[in-house]
């Protein structure tokens, strides 16, 4: 089953700023297949958020789509009308945000909010409430009928995030975008949410685009991983390939830096020295070269292409080229 659901094809997005155009995304290409969980990893400023808002077309006014397409079920969303986008958001594509404390309206009951988002449905109010209760049950909220009458502040953080997931899945979307859904939660709740997402994914067969900077969570949940750095995809592939056989120095360093990887107490933890380049004033060549300990002369002059190294594993690094040609 390799039905492609979402295709990001050579997407380049700029922000127009007083300092000139900030090249937030450059030549982003990857797919999400039906029913697949794809993780996007990268540090702050790598363009994860711009990517999500571009897919949903919820971008800031100074955003310019320079090139490329975002095809959902074969149709380019960048060309869709605002009306078409409205019909898509929350129905075919829905999203769970990072902060469970701020996603709900504090002055409406959970039941009312879950009714409101079913505005497209022609069912009776009683049926809609029953559907809402069933969804709350599915994400593990005990006594869902009674809980529908409560307000967001009466739920814990972990419960609120599960409610947000229940609401996102209510319309049985084909694609669920989860933007760092566990960052604001502690470890036990994080695990609860991941396990719940895996269960729901099996039940509803929706694809999940899971954004996180927590490598442990990505390793546990995702089928495939896309690694982003400074607005570009540097590597993508199956989760095992990426974690066990990374082909881009940035991916390798990122995995090394995770303290979860180091079992013995270390006095000095590995870091990636240097800063992310200024996206408004991009250097030529490879964007990672200033921080890369394996940089060569070629890295300064030419931008490495995202090569396919083997079936499904892509990386943008000249080191692999040397290997391939020699």
């Amino acid at each position: 089953m390799t039905d492609t659901l979402l295709e990001i094809d050579r997407l380049s997005v700029d922000y127009e700023t007083g300092r000139g155009d900030l090249k937030a995304l450059r030549d982003i290409t990857f797919n999400v297949n039906k029913g697949e969980i794809v993780g996007i990893v990268g540090e702050s400023g790598c363009g994860k958020s711009t990517l999500i808002s571009s897919i949903l077309r919820l971008t800031a006014p100074n955003t310019r789509f320079r090139e490329g397409e975002v095809r959902f079920k074969g149709k380019d969303l960048l060309q869709a009308s605002e009306r078409q986008m409205r019909n898509l958001r929350g129905a075919d594509i829905s999203i769970v945000f990072q902060d469970p404390m701020q996603t709900h309206n504090p002055v409406l009951t959970i039941g009312q909010q879950m009714l409101d988002i079913q505005h497209r449905s022609k069912q009776s109010k009683a049926d809609k409430l029953a559907h809402a209760a069933k969804m709350l049950g599915a994400v593990g909220i005990p006594d869902p009928e009674a809980r529908l009458k409560q307000y967001p502040h009466e739920f814990s953080g972990g419960m609120r995030q599960r409610i947000a997931i229940a609401m996102a899945l209510m319309s049985e979307p084909d694609l669920l975008i989860a933007d760092e859904p566990t960052t604001a939660l502690d470890a036990t709740l994080e695990v609860q949410i991941i396990e719940r997402l895996q269960e729901l994914q099996r039940e509803f067969h929706c694809a999940i685009l899971f954004i996180s900077h927590h490598l442990g969570v990505i390793a546990e949940l995702c089928d495939r991983v896309v690694v982003m750095y400074a607005g570009a995809v540097v590597e993508s592939g199956e989760v095992r390939e990426i974690f066990h056989n990374p082909k881009h120095p940035y991916t390798r360093r990122l995995i090394e830096c995770d303290p979860g990887h180091i079992k013995e107490r270390a006095r000095i933890l590995p870091t990636i020295p240097g800063e992310v380049p200024d996206l408004a004033n991009l250097p030529g060549g490879c964007i990672f070269r200033d921080r890369c300990d394996q940089a060569m002369a070629r890295c300064a002059s030419d931008v490495p292409p995202l090569d396919q190294l083997k079936e499904g594993h892509h990386a943008a690094c000249w080191l692999n080229h040397e290997e391939a040609t020699s």
Binding site: G158, D186, V191, R265
Partner: protein, 307 residues
């Protein structure tokens, strides 16, 4: 003499009993980690130590001096030796002050008029590896990691003996997190700094803490050296917590122990062992109330400990 000695600390907000008798000590130069779920009272403990949250009962002594409930006139001079790093890196910096004013504010508050504030600002920024021209910036011009480092610089301005750090690495990227932990480890060695650190990232605890205490519903349920706790957790809650740490390896075989249900309400504490309703290892004896027992430096509150 311990640097910090917390004995039977109790905090209630009206009927809500947030801390139900927390005791631990921190020696000079030692790092002590408090871990536990959201709502277990970790933040209240360090805020109560710093005098920022009330504590109706118990005792907090800092270098032998009782400071629980001490008036501001007593606390203020002590804050030279006891600095706080708050949870929200940007939110804890006043948006209207420059970084220079922010990191030199401790000198002004303590009335240290003889200091050259520009020179101090420069020294502090260099210490936390920020460019010195950042002194003229405002908090909104900083990234989360940079704001966090400003928080560290401010906490270290007066060369304290103790730092109280609330989730110092939350929300940071892994590489920046490593930088911050390296910085704290380095300063600890150079300045002999002691730390109480709150975090829910157990991988972080393993690399910075000498000893750790595990909190549940406003009580310590287990305490020991970090090494022993990771190797040989005795309390079922600790075991669950440690097993919930996602590993950055897709092939890691996780023997995950699921916690049942939600933490109970603080308004209605369960009878007997307060963890028993969620405990996968609960036995009949757990309807009785477990006492805090210490054996060879390892503290435990459990009637059916794991071996």
């Amino acid at each position: 003499m311990s640097l910090l000695n917390v004995v039977d600390l109790n905090t209630s907000y009206g009927p809500v009993n947030v801390l139900a008798g927390v005791s631990f000590t921190v020696e000079p130069g030692e790092t002590y980690a408090l871990v536990g779920e959201s709502g277990s009272g970790k933040t209240t403990v360090i805020r109560a130590i710093a005098g920022l949250a009330p504590a109706q009962n118990g005792s907090v002594t800092f270098e032998g001096q009782e400071i629980r409930g001490a008036p501001e006139s007593v606390m203020r001079p002590l804050r030279k030796d006891m600095a706080m790093m708050f949870q929200d890196p940007v939110g804890s910096l006043s948006p209207r002050l420059t970084i220079r004013s922010l990191i030199t504010e401790p000198y002004r508050i303590q009335g240290m008029k003889d200091r050259d504030l520009d020179a101090e600002a420069k020294r502090l920024l260099e210490m936390v590896n920020l460019p010195t021209h950042f002194a003229d910036r405002y908090p909104y011009q900083l990234s989360g990691g940079q704001a966090r480092r400003v928080g560290v610089a401010r906490a270290l301005a007066l060369e304290p003996k103790l730092i109280l750090a609330d989730e110092p690495t939350a929300g940071l990227d892994v590489s920046v997190q490593g930088e911050l932990l390296n910085l704290l480890n380095d300063l600890r060695e150079r300045l002999g700094l002691a730390m109480v650190i709150i975090t829910h990232n157990l991988s972080v605890v393993r690399h910075v803490a000498d000893r750790m205490g595990i909190m549940y519903l406003g009580r310590l349920v287990e305490e020991g050296t970090t090494e022993t706790i990771f190797k040989d957790p005795r309390h079922p809650y600790t075991r669950c917590l440690l097993s919930a740490n996602p590993e950055p390896d897709p092939d890691a075989r996780l023997e995950r122990i699921a916690l049942k249900g939600e933490p109970p309400s603080l308004l209605k504490r369960p009878s007997g062992c307060e963890f028993r309703e969620r405990c996968p290892f609960a036995k009949d004896i757990c309807t009785q109330t477990p006492e805090w027992e210490v054996d060879g430096g390892h503290g435990l509150r459990c009637l059916a400990p794991l071996s």
